[in-house]
């Protein structure tokens, strides 16, 4: 299945892109997706403890099971205000 990924804030600088996509087997979790992304964008590894992850407009944990067509967002801690 195809998962689209959006990067926000300085994660765009760390990856060099705003969007990416990954092909993953059915049943993959966000944790699995992160392994793929860390291999492809090693600069994200140092950020992994503070990385926030959303699917669509909701935050999700590492054990969330992805569905085909999910849009995943990765970003550092938010700082509005």
């Amino acid at each position: 299945m195809t998962i689209r990924i959006q990067f926000w804030s300085y994660f765009k600088d760390l990856t060099g892109c705003t969007q990416a996509s990954e092909e993953l087997p059915f049943g993959s979790t966000i944790g699995d997706l992160l392994q793929h992304l860390h291999a492809r964008f090693p600069k994200l590894i140092a950020m992994q403890n503070s990385t926030l992850i959303a699917v669509g407009v909701e935050y999700q944990a590492r054990d969330y099971v992805l569905k085909d067509g999910d849009e995943v967002s990765l970003f550092p801690p938010v700082q509005g205000g």
Binding site: S9, E58, S73, F75, V78, Q79, G80, G81
Partner: protein, 129 residues
């Protein structure tokens, strides 16, 4: 609860916002917060802050917070404006109005909302030198 959320690149006109306040006769307290861009970040002088926003998620997360706020406190009206893009030093990036029967709940709700916003609403700052 009346609610108004505005995410905008335009400068905030706070006097105009205050002038459009609406509250019924049961309400006794209006609390406002204006967040203003400071002239330094981590000790370095800056000229502005650029705000980036993941808008659909920001709107969704704001409304989830508004729902929770409404359950916790008897707030009659909540208005929040967050400016996006480049905001110069000394200009407001955030304006919040909370209207409630008494000041205790108005202050509590306003502070809670700002704290939670800074935890979950996907808006990011980048200093502009």
């Amino acid at each position: 609860m009346e609610r108004s959320l505005t995410l905008t690149p335009d400068p905030l006109d706070e006097p105009a916002l205050v002038a459009t306040r609406r509250m019924t006769g049961d309400m006794g307290a209006a609390v406002y917060f204006s967040g203003v861009v400071r002239g330094s970040e981590d000790g370095q002088p800056i000229s502005a802050i650029e705000y980036e926003c993941f808008r659909p998620m920001a709107e969704h997360q704001f409304h989830q917070l508004f729902d929770e706020l409404e359950h916790r406190w008897p707030v009659e009206s909540l208005r929040l404006v967050h400016r996006l893009g480049v905001v110069k030093v000394n200009e407001s990036s955030l304006w919040v109005e909370v209207i409630a029967p008494h000041r205790g709940e108005a202050f509590a709700a306003c502070q809670w909302l700002i704290d939670e916003m800074k935890r979950v609403v996907p808006i990011w700052k980048k200093p502009v030198v």
